[in-house]
Amino acid sequence: MLEIRNLHAKVDGREILQGLDLVINAGEMHAIMGPNGSGKSTLSYVLAGRDGYEVTAGSVLFEGHDLLALKPEERARAGIFLAFQYPVEVPGVPSATFLKTAVNAVRKARGEKEYDAFEFLKLMKAKRDALGMSEDMLKRPLNVGFSGGEKKRNEVLQMALLEPRFMVLDETDSGLDVDALRVVAAGINALRRADRAMLVITHYQRLLDHVRPDVVHILSKGRIVRSGGPELALELEAKGFAGVMPGAAA
């Protein structure tokens, strides 16, 4: 589904990604772990198409198409979703209005009928109940004054409503207490499907106790240096990043 080849990317003139290779198939969940500054967030922004993240070499194919040629909104419509580490506050715009605008923009681009207010409210209610979100929360301006947990739930709600094919979750576990982590993880698991894939970026094993990846990668200095099964995350937890680097003493 997603094929990253020899990806190099610069931010503010500094090369952060230095030849990253990664192939993710439909139905799979991959986790990327790595120390601060290894390029985790850069990878997520490059995939979502953020300005200022300049790809200098390599390619990214999404279902066989050149993803890098698309604008951010076109990528979203094609089925890419990035759950932000720090969801952005937009004062004055009620969360529900934002969600409806986004869902209808995506549906329109996909040639589907746009939802009217009633249809959308019904759909939203079903999805937000599953995430334990109140109606009141969605009337509040987008992410403004939301707690860390509320922001992350809101990201998962957006993901559920936009029905993407490929999801990048950037440190979705950061800022969550145990209960919130459980709810968010359940929301993520509910979205797993044979025709979808996910890339989970995290610092810690703790999210992976709740969502089980098929493959775990260690990212260091802009490249994937080691890959393995879920046990790699446990090994990392025990030994730290230095301990799992190739060539580290066993």
């Binding site: 969801p87 952005v88 004055g92 715009v93 923009a105």
Partner: protein, 492 residues
């Protein structure tokens, strides 16, 4: 050897902003119609000409002449305190009266020139009552004259007078004479004085005691003729315990020259009366290089004369090359309430210096000001406001909130609030913020599938939500779209 220019991100953004600010103005067409003009220029004969054209009584001509002589004494010395830059206006190089040639004062819509009806239809204001927006009565002012007023008879049956001010001068002289100039005297300021001398038409509303006007009243102002100034005068009187909601809209053709629009609006609310006055101002703003556009110098003031009266101004200002406008409230009656809700959008080279004055005279008077300024391109927006609490205004309260949103790096926003309190029991609050649409916000929206322009419109509409909610529902949607359109292409 040719070099490929390498742009930094900031430069690239700036270039895109520049390239995209050329949004088309949808109302820029000219109606081809024969018009009567007064001779070009301004002198006492022109004032007499206008008054004679309208068969005005002697007292009104005298009032105009007093105003004109006072205006002459001002020596073409326009107020210089506003944060506006424009070349000197040549008052002799304009027509002060232009009226489409048609049978004077058409009795019914059937007698109105079809070209005019077509014009208003094109503007989205059908005048035929069966096609009209339900619940809205319209007075259509074309250049210097009112060409049609709808639902007049239905309103008259309730005792509500809604007609052009010229007709009111003829049919209801006692009301006009009593209230004209009672809120904005002829010597008030340079532009109001000019207006008092040469005003040509405008709307008149009188709502009798205890009557709630069942429909929105609205005036649609259209400038069509070239080299013509529009000087309209509107007078609205809400008698005891009455209520009226009034809306005005304005558009003009696209021209390279600047045209002057200097209007005066006076509102009078007696005991327990309420007037809600909404404006959607979309005069031609000039092109992307700042050429052309309307100079909009307007004096709007409401007097809450009675106890428990209320006047609420809501304005959405997206047009005009220059906007100079301070809809104000004189809170004379005890417990009276004044409100000012404003959205001012400037793009390209537009300049706006706008705000309000709340003058608290009566006891327990309260006022609320919410101003949202949005500047893009190379434009400049200034909020200028005065809250004055007079010594006798025991328990007066004011809350002011003044927010500016900047789009791009070449525009400017200024806030100039004056607060004068002469009563220790008064409570006056002022809050102000300035923000920019951040790249973070745009990227976040776009990563959810929302196109850049739609994201800007969404964020801006969120920014002005409180004000949009104050508009009559029929117009809130229109205004919301207009704000989006005015900013189209403002972000790269």
């Amino acid at each position: 050897m040719a070099e490929t220019p390498v742009l930094t991100r900031a430069e690239e953004n700036a270039a895109q902003i520049d390239a995209l600010v050329n949004e088309k103005y949808r109302y820029g067409f000219v109606t081809d119609i024969d018009s009567d003009f007064a001779p070009k220029g301004l002198n006492e004969d022109i004032v007499r000409f206008i008054s004679a054209k309208k068969n005005e009584p002697e007292w009104l001509l005298e009032w105009r002449l007093k105003a004109f002589r006072f205006w002459l004494s001002l020596g073409e010395d326009e107020p210089g305190w506003a944060n506006l830059r424009y070349p000197k206006i040549d008052y002799q190089d304009a027509y002060y009266y232009a009226a489409p040639k048609q049978a004077a004062g058409p009795k019914s819509l059937d007698e109105v020139d079809p070209e005019l009806l077509k014009t208003y239809e094109k503007l989205g204001i059908p005048l035929a009552e069966r096609a009209a927006l339900a619940g809205v009565a319209v007075d259509a002012v074309f250049d210097s004259v009112s060409v049609a007023t709808t639902f007049k008879d239905k309103l008259a049956a309730m005792g509500i007078i809604f007609c052009s001010i010229s007709e009111a001068v003829r049919e209801h002289p006692e009301l006009v004479r009593r209230y004209l100039g009672s809120v904005v005297p002829y010597g008030d300021n340079f532009f109001a004085t000019l207006n008092s001398a040469v005003f040509t038409d405008g709307s008149f509303v009188y709502v009798p005691k205890g009557t709630r006007c069942p429909m929105e009243l609205s005036t649609y102002f259209r400038i069509n003729a070239a080299k013509t100034g529009q000087f309209e005068r509107t007078l609205i009187i809400a008698d005891e315990g009455s209520y009226v909601s009034y809306l005005e809209g304005c558009t003009a053709p696209m021209r390279d020259e600047n045209q002057l629009h200097a209007a005066v609006v006076e509102l009078v609310a007696l005991d327990d009366a309420e007037i809600k006055y909404s404006t959607v101002q979309n005069w031609y703003p000039g092109d992307a290089d700042g050429k052309g556009g309307i100079y909009n110098f307007v004096t709007k003031r409401g007097a809450c004369r009675g106890r428990n009266s209320k006047i609420s101004w809501t304005q959405v200002e997206t047009g005009s090359a220059i906007t100079w406008k301070y809809p104000s409230c004189i809170l004379q009656g005890d417990n009276s309430v004044g409100e000012f809700y404003s959205i001012a959008v400037t793009n390209n080279f537009q300049q706006a210096d706008t705000g309000t004055k709340m003058i608290h005279i009566g006891k327990n008077t309260s006022s609320r000001i919410i101003s949202k300024g949005i500047s893009a391109g190379r434009s400049s927006a200034t909020y200028r406001g005065l809250v004055r609490i007079q010594a006798g205004a025991e328990g007066a309260r004011n809350h002011t909130q003044c927010d500016s949103l900047l789009i791009g790096a070449k525009c400017a926003a200024h806030t100039v609030p004056y607060i004068e309190s002469r009563n220790p029991s008064a409570r006056v609050e002022h809050e102000a913020t300035t923000s920019k649409i951040s790249e973070d916000q745009l990227f976040y929206c776009r990563s959810r599938g929302i196109a850049q322009e739609d994201a800007v419109a969404l964020i801006v509409n969120g920014f002005c939500r409180e004000v949009l909610q104050a508009l009559p529902m029929e117009f809130a949607v229109e205004a919301q779209k207009l704000v989006g359109v005015s900013l189209e292409g403002s972000v790269g």
